[in-house]
């Protein structure tokens, strides 16, 4: 049965891949060399080339932005690898849950391991944890290579719409993080676990979670800005 599916799928697969490549080729912004750091992306015209104050031919690895389609394709391929080589979907929020457990263990001792939740998610370093460390390193390398590493506390859009106070930004980030942590574990995953891995598997739970996430996010964003 699956032999037929494979044969049938092969040429359809090619058709879709050709469609993808067409999309990618139509979007010339992957050749963009620099977007001035801090400038809002809403000001940038899709596909237009911006003058760079870096060498324009220093290569794609040192360019500050790649096409979102190229990055998405790359992440999709990464998902193939995680399934094939790790037998796991890409997932992030578990790392934070386990970290919370590990920190609590330092404070309250071994009894934390007896909590119902930590019996399900043992508080120790695991696959997702290393993944998150990797994300920090990978982003750092990317920022370093394009010269866009910069210590920034107040993002531009926040400054424009809300204000200049560091305290308010810190409190809002903290509160947002807390709600996000609770929400992610309640839903059983975040934008990586549900948003990418779950949706690509066509899991009903993940599609419902993602739609809920964006409804909550969009309504809140419009309310605060």
């Amino acid at each position: 049965m699956f032999k037929n599916a494979t044969r049938f799928a092969r040429w359809r697969l090619s058709a879709v891949l050709i469609a993808l490549m067409t999309l990618f080729l139509c979007d010339t912004s992957w050749a963009q060399s620099a977007i001035p750091a801090g400038e809002s992306t809403t000001q940038i015209e899709q596909g237009a080339s911006m003058a760079s104050n870096r060498e324009p031919d220093s290569g794609p690895l040192s360019s500050e932005r790649w096409s979102p389609y190229v990055c998405g394709i790359g992440i999709g391929i990464l998902c193939w690898l995680t399934f094939l080589l790790s037998n796991r979907p890409l997932g992030i929020s578990t790392a934070y849950a386990k970290t919370a457990g590990m920190l609590e263990k330092k404070w309250r001792g071994k009894q934390v391991e007896q909590m119902e939740y930590y019996k399900k998610f043992p508080p120790k370093i695991g696959w997702e944890w290393m993944l998150v460390i990797g994300v920090i390193i990978g982003a750092f390398i990317s920022a370093l290579m394009s010269g866009s590493f910069e210590f920034v506390f107040l993002p531009e859009i926040w400054r424009v719409h809300i204000g200049d106070t560091y305290l308010l930004r810190w409190l809002t980030a903290l509160a947002g993080g807390i709600l996000m942590g609770i929400g992610a574990r309640w839903a059983g995953g975040c934008t990586s676990g549900h948003g990418i891995s779950g949706t690509l598997q066509l899991a009903v739970s993940s599609w419902i979670v993602v739609i809920s996430m964006f409804i909550g996010g969009i309504v809140t964003a419009f309310m605060i800005m």
Partner: protein
């Protein structure tokens, strides 16, 4: 051979680190580790986030289902219910808009120097997860399983060859991406 790799703990931790580095690199290059880009998406002005996610989903879906057909991978879907997927998702969304990063992109934001991510967001997410561990026993007994539909996938619900569902889903997603690009978004 794959099973041996899967079961080797040390190898898996190294793989996870490498996968993470690639993920972080791609997220940063895509711009989605930036507060401005994420808020731009939630304000429906900048569709970079959706483009990254949907492109990843199409490519990921085709590859994973193809490999599944070859017997190389299994699916790992998460169970869901009305009492967990919807409140969790909505709460996440509210936090998402306040913080301006998600758990993955915030790690990337830390890597690119965003201090609000490092000092506000990450402690917040950890605290939130810690709070959830205390809420879990009560939620588990009350709402978490209300309206449960398990870890079912759409192809499993539709009684035709799953490739029709997969290709239809990819077609729809590509259609959305195409509409976004011709709309100049």
């Amino acid at each position: 051979m794959l099973k041996t790799i899967h079961n080797n703990q040390k190898v898996q931790l190294v793989f996870a680190l490498l996968f993470g580095i690639i993920f972080g690199f791609l997220l940063q290059k895509g711009g989605v580790t930036r507060y401005d880009v994420i808020m731009g998406q939630l304000l429906l002005e900048d569709f970079t986030v959706i483009k990254v996610i949907l492109s990843a989903v199409v490519v990921g879906m085709l590859g994973v289902y193809y490999m599944k057909g070859l017997g190389l991978v299994s699916l790992h879907t998460k169970p869901g219910s009305l009492g967990s997927s919807i409140p969790g998702g909505l709460l996440f969304g509210i936090g998402f808009a306040l913080l301006g990063y998600c758990p993955g992109t915030i790690a990337g934001a830390v890597g690119q120097g965003s201090l609000d991510a490092l000092l506000g967001g990450i402690p917040g997410i950890i605290i939130g997860c810690g709070i959830y561990a205390y809420l879990y026993p009560t939620l588990q007994r009350t709402v978490l399983h209300r309206g449960s539909f398990g870890d079912v996938t759409f192809p499993q619900l539709i009684p035709i060859n799953h490739w029709f569902v997969v290709l239809a889903a990819c077609g729809l997603i590509l259609g959305v991406l195409f509409l976004l690009s011709i709309a100049g978004l």
